[in-house]
């Protein structure tokens, strides 16, 4: 490990300090550990926002630093969510089923238990059989491994195919979008083995912690998300600061030049694509237990485009920009769509923000692209007057 990388990238320390301060504040104001000034549901919203910030950093690395506008990273996020959701749902259903079978005179056989669990989980799609992909659902460790492995392998295979045939630019964006669409269409099917459009639900209940209040669980997940974001930030800062950063920024700016310098550009792209996919999967695995439910709609291509919107608004090519963009836009979005913003009465017409927020977002996004290509992060740079 280079000693100098933090020195070269002072934003890491600033960021960690700000994140710690924020985390501490939330902990002190939460219901479970503090003065209860922040509701449990808001703690969950903040925790989810931290996960979104984490995937936004990943997106920033792959797009802002490496120049690959991936419209598929939210798919990896969703896969992470599904992988952990399978265990959460299985383990919780198992507890419930065992409890209800306990009162029977004759103890159940393993097969009966498995049938009952299957019936509980897959009853909504008219089945009770466990599909093959649930083979490891009873093991937390293996499912955690899946959180990392499946997005990683999918990104590796897809990236290898795409990069080796030198698909670049908007073509690649569309190809990643097609991949996302294929995945979400697949998951929408009832026989996908993941409950079709019902998705997985009840994920906020953590097996083994039935007695623990949601207030406590929420703060635990909030802390976990915070740690993950901090670690992710340091990890990505380490990647983009050194020579690796030079090479991937070089690929973004002039792929051919990097190639003629003797670097195998495809390997680098694949590395960045895969690593960011894995981090996205981890972010998803932390996000969905806080959201409580995951369904294929979450993976729809539009979600990945929003991710690009956050990063663009926050400012590409600077990690804190991605964090600012994701936090700012997603919190603003829930404020507007949640009815937090007051309506504007124009006399003839009443602007209700639940209806007009997307219009505002779309237009402001165009404005940012046109007038502030560096996003909010660029503004930050300007204020701090730090040459980049």
């Amino acid at each position: 490990m280079r000693k100098s990388f933090i020195a070269e990238n002072p934003s890491v320390l600033w960021f960690l300090a700000a994140l710690s301060l924020f985390t501490l504040t939330v902990v002190l104001l939460s219901e479970a550990t503090g003065t209860a000034m922040i509701s449990t549901s808001f703690v969950k919203t903040l925790g989810k926002t931290l996960c979104l910030c984490l995937i936004a950093i990943a997106m920033d690395v792959v797009w802002g630093y490496c120049g690959i506008l991936s419209l598929g990273h939210f798919a990896f996020f969703g896969i992470g969510g599904y992988a952990i959701g399978m265990w959460l749902m299985y383990a919780r259903t198992e507890t419930i089923v065992l409890e209800s079978l306990q009162n029977q005179v004759i103890p159940p056989t393993p097969q009966e238990v498995s049938d009952a669990i299957g019936n509980q989980i897959f009853g909504v799609v008219g089945s009770s059989e466990f599909p093959l992909i649930w083979a490891f659902a009873d093991s937390l460790f293996l499912q955690l491994l899946m959180v990392v492995l499946i997005p990683g392998l999918l990104a590796l295979v897809f990236g290898w195919l795409a990069f080796r045939s030198r698909v670049t630019g908007v073509y690649l964006s569309i190809l990643t979008q097609a991949m996302t669409l294929a995945l979400s269409l697949y998951l929408f099917q009832n026989d996908s083995g993941l409950r079709g459009n019902n998705g997985l639900s009840g994920l906020q209940n953590i097996p083994g912690f039935e007695e623990t209040s949601q207030a406590t669980i929420s703060i635990v997940f909030f802390l976990a998300s915070s740690v993950a974001l901090g670690a992710g930030y340091v990890f990505f800062a380490w990647i983009v600061t050194g020579k690796m950063g030079s090479v991937i920024k070089g690929i973004r700016d002039n792929e051919a030049r990097v190639r003629f310098l003797g670097y195998h550009v495809e390997s680098y792209k694949l590395f960045v694509f895969t690593v960011t996919a894995v981090i996205s999967g981890i972010a998803g695995a932390l996000y969905y237990p806080q959201a409580g439910i995951i369904n294929p709609g979450e993976i729809a291509p539009i979600a990945s485009i929003y991710l690009a919107v956050w990063v663009a608004i926050g400012g590409r090519g600077r990690l804190y920009g991605a964090v600012i963009g994701a936090a700012f836009v997603s919190l603003l979005s829930s404020w507007f769509t949640g009815g937090g913003a007051p309506d504007i009465d124009l006399g003839v017409y009443r602007i209700q923000w639940t209806d007009w927020w997307l219009v505002l977002l779309g237009v402001s996004f165009v404005a940012v692209t046109l007038f502030f290509p560096k996003g909010i992060g660029g503004l930050f740079d300007y204020l701090v007057r730090k040459p980049s």
Partner: protein, 249 residues
């Protein structure tokens, strides 16, 4: 004499247009060579073939002592074999400092994991310093490459090629857009480089070629028209007709 690069019988066609026509050309271990020719003579396409950007329809490109065929290799593999290329338009990474540009080009392991775990060494730093000195950019090491002047960018790119420690340097119009002093300096850099390796310069500017004072190959319609010293080729009537007669009054 053992050749560093042997190109023989190479042809390539774009949409019916024969850009390279049965071209054969050789380069020795350490020499300075200028390639001249009118527009569309196939100079850039020749470089594209050697560096792996374009695959020829026929012919062979043989490299080094082991007689490796370059045709099956990718651009990055060819670069790793020791062929460096400078584009016509200066292409440096404008967003990064001169030092970072040079560091990226330094001859070191090129794999992603090696690069990820790479740490700065004094040897590398010394290499960068010496190259910077060679190309006259010692004062500018911490500046962003985008802030450099046109000529400085050209030198930086040549510096990056030198940092690669190639055995063959392909340089496309290095003097374009340079002032007289800058040209002189460029000439010095190239001549010095050619002492230890082969340097091939594609150039339009006859004054610049004369200053290089080296063997000249004239390309015309995708094949070699004449070869020899500048005086020798300029006295060739065919060359005068196709090129000098029209292009260089």
């Amino acid at each position: 004499m053992s050749m560093l690069l042997e190109v023989s019988g190479v042809s390539v066609t774009f949409d019916g247009f024969r850009a390279i026509n049965n071209l054969s050309i050789n380069f020795a271990e350490a020499e300075l060579r200028a390639i001249i020719g009118p527009n569309g003579a196939g100079k850039t396409t020749f470089m594209d073939i050697v560096t792996g950007k374009t695959r020829p329809d026929e012919g062979t490109v043989i490299w080094g002592e082991k007689n490796i065929s370059l045709l099956g290799l990718s651009e990055s593999q060819i670069a790793m074999e020791g062929i460096g290329r400078k584009f016509q338009k200066p292409t440096v990474f404008e967003d990064q400092t001169v030092r970072q540009n040079l560091a990226m080009a330094l001859k070191n392991p090129r794999g992603p994991f090696a690069v990820l775990m790479h740490s700065k060494t004094t040897a590398n730093a010394a290499r960068i310093e010496s190259i910077a000195e060679e190309i006259g950019l010692t004062q500018s090491l911490t500046r962003r490459a985008g802030e450099l002047s046109h000529g400085q960018k050209q030198w930086l790119e040549i510096g990056m090629l030198l940092a690669q420690e190639p055995r063959l340097l392909l340089v496309d119009e290095p003097a374009a857009g340079m002032t007289v002093e800058e040209r002189e300096k460029t000439t010095d850099i190239l001549r010095k480089a050619a002492e230890t390796r082969a340097v091939v310069v594609v150039e339009h500017d006859m004054e610049f070629v004369r200053r290089l004072d080296c063997k000249v190959t004239v390309l015309h319609e995708g094949s070699v028209l004449a070869e020899g010293s500048l005086d020798h080729v300029t006295s060739n009537q065919t060359v005068v007709d196709v090129y000098l007669g029209r292009g260089h009054a």
